[in-house]
């Protein structure tokens, strides 16, 4: 998996949670909670979905990396050794 594919995976999972979100325009450092009105349960579900799809654990203390697309991509790339 490349970093771009990883990013596409994250965008896909965000889309499952916020189907109405326009993901084409989101900047790497935008807070997803603000940009797409995602609440704690949405972020929780995103962490669960990504950890299952990528088959890695995402410790609870690291979940905060996933509130931006850029942060999430970097963090998960690091965890996957990309």
């Amino acid at each position: 998996m490349t970093k771009d594919e990883l990013k596409a995976t994250i965008i896909d999972e965000i889309g499952n949670i916020a189907p109405d979100a326009d993901l084409s325009s989101v900047s790497a450092d935008a807070d997803l909670r603000e940009a797409f009105d995602m609440d704690s349960m949405d972020i929780f579900n995103l962490v669960v979905a990504l950890s299952q799809r990528l088959a890695i654990d995402i410790p609870d203390v690291d979940a905060s990396h996933l509130v931006t697309l850029g942060g999430g991509t970097e963090y998960l790339a690091h965890r996957l050794g990309l």
């Binding site: 189907p19 109405d20 203390v61």
Partner: protein, 382 residues
């Protein structure tokens, strides 16, 4: 011999369309079984039966629109008619969004489809009218729907959601509440160190899907407090309060794009917190997708409204009639807090109560909030 009647799923419901029978003549039914799907202006609702027995005869066919209270089926083996169990009269709940993305509307426009096909289509958000049936008489069968699913563009579509209708129903319920219920309000700020730490500790050694959110602990604390404060747990109807034996906490769930529903988690007080979290997660997902059961919509005996992570300090909620109390939680905020005569930073959580003055007074309300504070202070043991 009893009858199973069209339930009232809200004060503004006069009639419903029986979309689908899930049980048929000769079937044995148990209390809590889903026997039919009824379409109202709030969407398609799964209707449960509240008696044990055997279905003797279905009196209404699929697609028929019938008024509230009209018998839908005769039930053998029951001692009395299970009338009007689904909703206390006058109940007025915030509605779910239209559950089936493309609900099957009764009448001559709707094509014939097998129940299995209809269910599959609903699950995938496929409109039956867009499918050409290959079954007898042009009826839509399972394989037709499967073909339609395969042909569907992969683009995600927001399911049809009638926010206008939902807004009208919320307006009706809240107007009724503000008109009929003499609310009083209490607010209290509590040190949330123990409960936020309890969540961290709980989650540290668990896989993502097994973790909990603070919201689950808050529900648990409220549910436990109700055991000692029964005057906040039940219904007020015709100026008489009926306390509820069961503690079914309604969870106010906001819906993307606007809208709100507050279905119940049954026997909230008896659930271990991990299980409670799982139920909450399932419920929120179903609210947003729209698949409800009639009892979830009408059974809440008290409601919790929580602002979550991105809210503000506190909220002053409005009671859902015919309930008599609603508890609000603000967003946890770092605040200066006095501990042992020293100012220290602490996560602070505001908890508020709106309660019905026909049933309780501020003194008991204050004791209730204190008890919730105490329970959250022992959250590591919840």
């Amino acid at each position: 011999m009893g009858t199973f009647n069209m339930p009232s799923l809200g004060a503004d419901m006069e009639a419903g369309t029986l979309v689908e029978w899930l049980k048929h003549a000769g079937d044995i039914v148990h209390r809590g079984d889903i026997v039919a799907v009824v379409e109202t202006h709030k969407g398609a609702i799964e209707i449960e039966i509240f008696e044990d027995g055997t279905i003797a005869e279905l009196l209404v066919s699929e697609g028929e629109k019938v008024p509230v209270g009209m018998p839908l089926a005769r039930i053998a083996g029951t001692l009395q008619a299970p009338l009007e169990h689904a909703a206390p009269p006058g109940v007025n709940v915030a509605p779910p969004r239209s559950p089936r993305p493309n609900p099957v509307i009764a009448g001559p426009v709707a094509g014939r489809a097998s129940p299995v096909a209809r269910r599959l289509a609903a699950e995938h958000g496929i409109e039956l009218s867009a499918i050409i049936g290959s079954g007898p008489g042009g009826a839509i069968v399972h394989a037709d729907v499967e073909r339609a699913i395969a042909a569907q563009p992969p683009a995600r579509q927001r399911p049809g959601l009638d926010l206008g209708q939902m807004r009208l129903a919320i307006a009706a319920a809240m107007t009724r509440s503000k008109r009929d219920i003499p609310h009083y309000y209490l607010t209290h700020s509590i040190d949330a160190s123990v409960c936020t730490k309890a969540v961290e500790d709980y989650n540290a050694a668990r896989a993502p899907a097994e973790r909990i959110l603070l919201g689950a602990l808050l529900l648990k604390a409220v549910a436990l407090s109700m055991r000692e404060f029964p005057e906040f747990n039940g219904f007020c109807q015709e100026e008489a309060f009926h306390p509820s034996k069961g503690i079914h906490v309604g969870v106010a769930v906001s819906i993307r794009g606007g809208g709100l529903a507050a279905p119940a988690i049954h026997d909230t007080d008896q659930l271990p917190v991990g299980e409670l979290m799982a139920k909450m997660r399932d419920l929120i997902a179903r609210v947003r997708r729209g698949s409800f059961r009639s009892s979830e919509l009408t059974d809440a005996t008290v409601t919790v409204s929580s602002l979550g992570e991105r809210g503000v300090e506190s909220l002053l909620p409005i009671i859902y009639p015919p309930q008599v109390a609603i508890i609000g939680f603000g967003t946890v905020q770092q605040r200066a807090w006095v501990v042992d005569d020293q100012v220290a930073p602490r996560p602070v959580l505001s908890v508020t109560l709106a309660a019905d003055h026909r049933v309780s007074d501020g003194h008991r309300g204050a004791l209730l909030l204190r008890r919730i504070e105490e329970l959250l202070g022992e959250a590591d043991r919840l």
